[in-house]
């Protein structure tokens, strides 16, 4: 996986967000705006996953569980406690962060596929609860989420888009900051070799715990955004296909890259819509497309771009995450 560079500029991120601001003026209808919102939501979700797995190497198969908990908490805090959307949002993120801490504390002793299986179990438990605690979660039919209002009127689709964009922008900047900072390099050092990272003074356990909690909170943010857009939450938010979408985004966009989550989310959201015209062959074509990506662009589209840059610098001595950490500490 490519390493983040210390001197990477924030301006590409700002440019992407500026494009996001202009998007409602460039799109032709509400459906396209919905697709744009879904891209941002999946990008948010995948940014948490990217920090956790792409940068830190901690594979969590339970991110969809936090996504669902965030969405349900956002809905329930409004429905049951009558909180405003802003307070419900803060509450949902806090609940997921605490839940993430509770889960991470014992589970982060595990590594690789053991951690994957344990977190998958967590996701399955949450999905079971969403389906079976019918009085609380609404069961299969889920819950209706009150619409966002402004001045007593329900916010229109463009208004909702800018709310989602603003939230996505904050997460994107945070993701980018971590990726470009010494924290990102420490995380990469943990990913590459935990023992070596610890030997170099990286507080491995603390970083792993923090990034797990942050990823859970980011998943909750995505869940809240989805609730705002769809006005509904149901158990499907915590199902396996959300995890598959995240993994596909990682493959297509590029794991451990700055723009991978956004590029991957755009392709994974738009491509199925374009392939609808192929009818029953759509799934086949989509699957073939993913296989081709795995074979020929294993680091994803964003990884491809960063690899090109690294190739240009091939004359420079090879660097590893560990040397980057040493440099920061020194």
């Amino acid at each position: 996986m490519p390493l983040a560079t210390k001197r990477a500029s924030v301006w590409p991120v700002v440019a992407v967000l500026a494009l996001g601001v202009a998007l409602p003026f460039l799109l032709s209808g509400g459906f396209q705006l919905r697709i744009a919102m879904l891209i941002w939501i999946f990008a948010i979700l995948s940014m948490g996953f990217n920090l956790l797995y792409g940068y830190t190497g901690q594979i969590s198969m339970g991110q969809q569980g936090f996504y669902a908990v965030g969405a349900y908490a956002f809905a329930l805090l409004q429905i049951k406690l009558g909180l405003s959307p802003v307070l419900a949002f803060a509450g949902a993120v806090a609940i997921c962060a605490v839940l993430g801490l509770i889960v991470a504390y014992p589970l982060l002793r595990l590594r690789t596929h053991y951690l994957a299986m344990a977190t998958l179990g967590f996701g399955l438990i949450l999905n079971g609860v969403a389906n079976r605690w019918i009085d609380f979660t609404g069961g299969t039919a889920g819950l209706t989420v009150p619409p966002l209002t402004w001045g007593g009127e329900a916010l229109g689709r463009t208004g909702i888009y800018y709310v989602v964009l603003a939230i996505a922008g904050v997460v994107f900047l945070l993701h980018d900051f971590i990726a470009r900072s010494h924290v990102g390099r420490a995380l990469q050092a943990i990913r590459d070799d935990e023992t070596a990272a610890a030997a170099l003074g990286v507080p491995v356990r603390r970083y792993k715990l923090r990034i797990f909690v942050l990823a859970a909170a980011i998943a909750a943010v995505a869940g809240c955004c989805f609730s705002v857009v769809s006005l509904r939450v149901d158990p499907s938010l915590g199902e396996f296909h959300i995890l598959v979408s995240m993994l596909t985004i990682a493959v297509v966009g590029g794991l451990g890259t700055r723009f991978g989550p956004l590029i991957g989310a755009a392709i994974v959201t738009i491509l199925p819509q374009l392939l609808l015209q192929f009818g029953a062959a759509e799934t086949l074509i989509y699957g073939a497309f993913i296989v081709l990506f795995l074979l020929f662009i294993p680091h994803g589209l964003a990884g491809l771009v960063e690899n090109v840059r690294w190739t240009r610098k091939s004359a420079a001595p090879a660097r590893t995450a560990a040397t980057n950490v040493l440099e920061v500490k020194g």
Binding site: G29, F31, N131, T140, A141, T144, S230, L231, R232, S236
Partner: protein
Amino acid sequence: MTPIHSTEGIRARRAMLMAGSLLAAMAFSSGAGAEPLALKICSIDDRSGSAADTGIESLNGLHMVVDPVNEAGGINGRKIELIEYDGKTDPQLTATLATRCAEDDKGLLIIGPSPTAPAAAVVPVANQNKIPAYILSAAANALTDNAEFQFRFGPKAAQDAIAVADAAAERGFKRVAIINNSVPFGIDGSESVMAALKEKGIEVVARETYDVAATDVTPQVMNLSSAKPDLVLVYPYPADGARVIRSIRQMGVTAPVIMPRVGLMKAFRELAAADANGVLVPSSVDISRPEVKKFFEDYAAKYGAVAPTPSAVQGHDAGTLAIKVLSDAEVQKAIDSGDLAAARLAIRDATLRLGQIDGLQGQAGVTYQFGKGQHHGAPDKGFFVYTEVAGDGKELVAPDDAKFRPAQ
């Protein structure tokens, strides 16, 4: 210099006049001659994924009503355009497709989906875009509470449960055991029937839940068997349903078995084969009705033989009401005006006005009950009949009532 200025002035005035005339012409043309709307209906249902059978059959049933109308020239000379989307049993995708139908395709009406979760995801889209949605078999009880634009053709879970509890009470069953899979259909179905049985004072002596992918359900069936029930209720999907019924037979449980909805499905009957014999199924499709029999004969001729499941019939009935509504004078007037929002509202209102149709679901003479404040079409009484699986899973026959009794 003056002549030049004068010429430029004339040119400018001419240009302004031309632009003004053009704008006036455009305004006149758009106001006076708005194009009538195309008769677009979006069929959004699950044609792949775990509920693929229901979506395929409902679409075929819909085609069986719409195609003859189109072949005869359409409604007032305009053909109905069916836009078909596969929701893949994914609520989020289904909601996106519904938005595409409402906003990009300019659809007048959505027909589908069948399962509860995708259907529930369509409801906010229908309300936001004020587009009527004819939901098919979604069973969640609250789906049409305080409904605005959604209508439901299938029975709700509580009605399934009431039909089972009524049958159990009428026949004197006292000890019921329930086994269900871990997916929403199994959980919701068993929860609803437990409530209905409780109202009838019938004891639930055992309830077992198994994972839908479990290859061995013997422990759960052993628990059922040891509770000595006089009636067993099974809420599975087709493949796991076959495993459950096989275990029930192997364990020597002799109590009658009721399997709502899934017992009718071809996949279950083929997998269970001889073990499926004697399974009882409450169904909204009364195969003793001549028109229902003819429908399934025509269906078989066009699409291949299919078990008389509610999905095909629901697609047919939703299409029948849609055509009746689209033919309504008020709706036609709104469609001719080219005003999409007005046309959708007119369709919603006409559905409430004309919704007491005699469809293929329910017993003979029982009609849908759509009307003001009533967006759920199936009535509580006369909507279910019992069917028995026979002929090693190949046949569906009227049940032998003598066998449908508690063992003495």
